[in-house]
Symmetry: C2
Subunit: 434 residues, 2 copies
């Protein structure tokens, strides 16, 4: 019966159950189009409680992957496990048993992608992972296929919906950071321990995957310089607004003459620019290609059904045979005749900067600070210091926008500025994108 | 030598020469990735003057398609002819001779797509046409592959860069329509006879293609209701701004319970919505899918290299074998077991409306107009009538924003309003999108 395409779903949490639901719902329509009937042949979860479902026939349920490995007719497995170590082991087993794999597990790929991709290639299998970056936004296939005739020049992306939700709450509802985070946790957007999101780690993991697909570099995600949004105060959101900007956590990959620059940074983005207009849990990616110019994608990067949409698209690509053709052509391994791009030292990176310092309200303060900046070759574009209303307050925020400066010099200057007696708490430094 | 993939470019105008340039420039990089060397084996143009090129070896040039048809090693032809009738004949010949075809020719597809697609399918060949809609924005592959697990619910798109440029000029530079159009012509964005763009015909042709890919309907583009931007006055741009909107030429396909609604209409789009922020010659497409939710794409819809980028992506898809797998699964022909969507009568369509009437400045005018609207069941949301500065002027613009009303009733009411003695010139009626 080669008109049946038997599929296993491994891990039956939010993503796995969404995929199973969508697969069953869309199977008749897809069968008419593809001439192949997608059949959910196995659902695996080590927790039997998760397998209680009204919509699944009991004979396809299992707490181990064994029935999948043994079923030679099931050639595709959709992996959606929580634990990347367990996922790694199971994906390796699946590949060894001749299954193609679809995964939305960005942590699995960020930690073990190189090993898994190499193994799949050796075994003539395909791993598809469109849902691992930006969820429902088809950015991986866009880079790998639709923009294949381009050399990618740069990627600027909002890849973490939780951070974007928090920053949007702060701006639209005047929420302090802590209460915006609590709201995100209450809605299920942020974990009880939110540091993977707010610290920029999740965005760095996704950026590592994008950088591999777009530039052929293999960068351990922990090596990507990153600043989280936890340094952003409501005051910064207000000053950004006053200056005509919004604060967004940007993941950046940029090919420059002396190497590839990668970083994740909370950044002031000028209002009216597409990235500045991305609100709530949405993700967005701005790509510049050598032929196509600027292309911008915007959609939901998380959520059960957007992820299921991307996972099932990969499953369809695998069943039709497209994934087998695409996978070997991806930038996932070194290619003979190509020198991998050098990673640029982040200290060499340059940007305009926003500085917010809490300073004593006395003469000479601006002179001291601007003196340090000047000695580091950093020139000031504008300064905001409002008159204070409370007469008692002796500490006021001072905001400085610089012209383009080098990251390394800026960091050195900031260190000295933070040591000044007139500077009361550690200053906030954000990048600025016009 | 199956490591060589020989390609013909037929029609050596702007698109054809851009494709040839990009193909030659990217061939070494693509060869390393794909394991196949793309080779430009034939360049055809009936005008020998166009074939004078420093970058092309003379032995690949021809004024007829004969050498391509006779070369069995050349299995892919990129068609970029100006005349759709000539293109139709040549594409049929190419298919008969076993060539796959890539085209960016939306007029060819709008006029002869059904015939060509059927013929290609009979012959086991593939036609790829990603560049025919929205140019460098990969909207056709996004719908056909990345969103394959979704039922498409709606498409709202800016598909004509010339119109968007004119409307942007009017807003940003306070240009009158005629001078904005002249500017577009001077920059080469608009033809000397611009009616295909400004009348909404080009957008309707592209919408017909998108509707086929997304909804499986075959609609002759001439049957798509359309209003051009030539009815938009600078005054309307100003009023839209005052009301918090921008005017955009939207191509709309929406699946509703009683059928598919298709139209092209200049529309007030609320500022801050992604479609409202699309400026200049850019294109954009907002899609809602049943699983993925809202996804938004933005990029250059025209221009030599963006089009070449999309054409070469299709060529790569064909060479790798992906196009052969994708083409038969597209919504290009009726499928057994599926009833084609009914096309909804445009008179049943509903929207909020912006009306701008030039009326006599005398008592009772608003009462007469609002009486007609009321008798058609149309309720008024807001009215703007500014005090006139010129005392001599007896005619003033009156702007009415309605609540949601039916197109048919609105058209009937407008006909009566235009007959009122107090209404001096034909009123302007635009749709409104919140």
């Amino acid at each position: 019966m080669n008109h049946l395409a038997k599929v296993a779903v491994i891990g039956f949490g939010t993503v796995g159950s969404g995929v199973a639901k969508l697969l069953q719902e869309q199977a008749p329509r897809l069968a008419r189009r593809m001439g192949k009937q997608l059949v959910l042949a196995h659902v695996v979860d080590s927790d039997p409680k998760r397998l209680k479902s009204d919509i699944l026939p009991p004979n396809i349920l299992s707490t181990t992957v064994k029935p999948v490995l043994e079923d030679r007719e099931t050639t595709l497995a959709i992996e959606s496990l929580d634990d990347p170590e367990q996922a790694r082991e199971i994906v390796l087993q699946l590949l060894e048993h001749g299954k193609d794999v679809v995964t939305a597990n960005k942590l699995l790929l960020a930690e073990h992608g190189t090993e898994l991709f190499e193994r799949a290639r050796e075994l003539g299998r395909a791993i598809s992972f469109g849902a691992a970056v930006a969820g429902g936004v088809p950015i991986v296939p866009a880079i790998a296929e639709c923009l294949a005739a381009n050399q990618i020049e740069s990627i600027h992306a909002i890849l973490n919906g939780t951070c974007n939700f928090i920053l949007t709450q702060m701006e639209e509802h005047e929420s302090e950071y802590a209460s915006a985070l609590a709201e995100a946790q209450q809605r299920g957007y942020a974990d009880p321990n939110p540091i993977m999101d707010t610290g920029g780690h999740d965005a760095a993991q996704k950026l590592a995957i994008l950088a591999q697909v777009a530039f052929g570099v293999r960068v351990p995600w922990r090596n990507i310089p990153r600043v989280g949004i936890d340094i952003v105060d409501l005051m910064d959101v207000h000053f950004a607004k006053e200056l005509g900007y919004r604060i967004k956590l940007l993941a950046v990959a940029e090919s420059l003459p002396d190497g590839l620059e990668l970083h994740v940074s909370p950044t002031l983005v000028r209002r009216g620019m597409p990235l500045a207009e991305v609100s709530g849990v949405y993700n967005a990616v701005r790509i510049v290609g050598s032929a196509v110019g600027r292309v911008f994608f915007h959609g939901l990067g998380s959520g059960q059904m957007p992820i299921a949409s991307a996972v099932l698209a990969d499953a369809i690509n695998t069943i039709t045979g497209r994934a087998a053709l695409t996978f070997p052509t991806l930038n996932l391994w070194p290619v003979e005749g190509e020198t991998p791009l050098r990673l640029r030292d982040f200290a060499e990176s340059s940007s305009r900067y926003y500085l917010r310092l809490n300073v004593e309200d006395r003469p000479g303060v601006i002179a001291e600070i601007s003196g340090i900046l000047s000695r580091h070759g950093i020139s000031i574009a504008s300064v905001i210091q409002h008159e204070t209303e409370e007469e008692s307050s002796n500490v006021v925020p001072l905001v400085i926008m610089t012209h383009v400066a080098q990251e390394g010099k800026m960091a050195a200057a900031m260190k000295l500025i933070n040591q000044l007696s007139c500077v009361q708490t550690k200053g906030v430094r954000l990048r600025v994108r016009n």
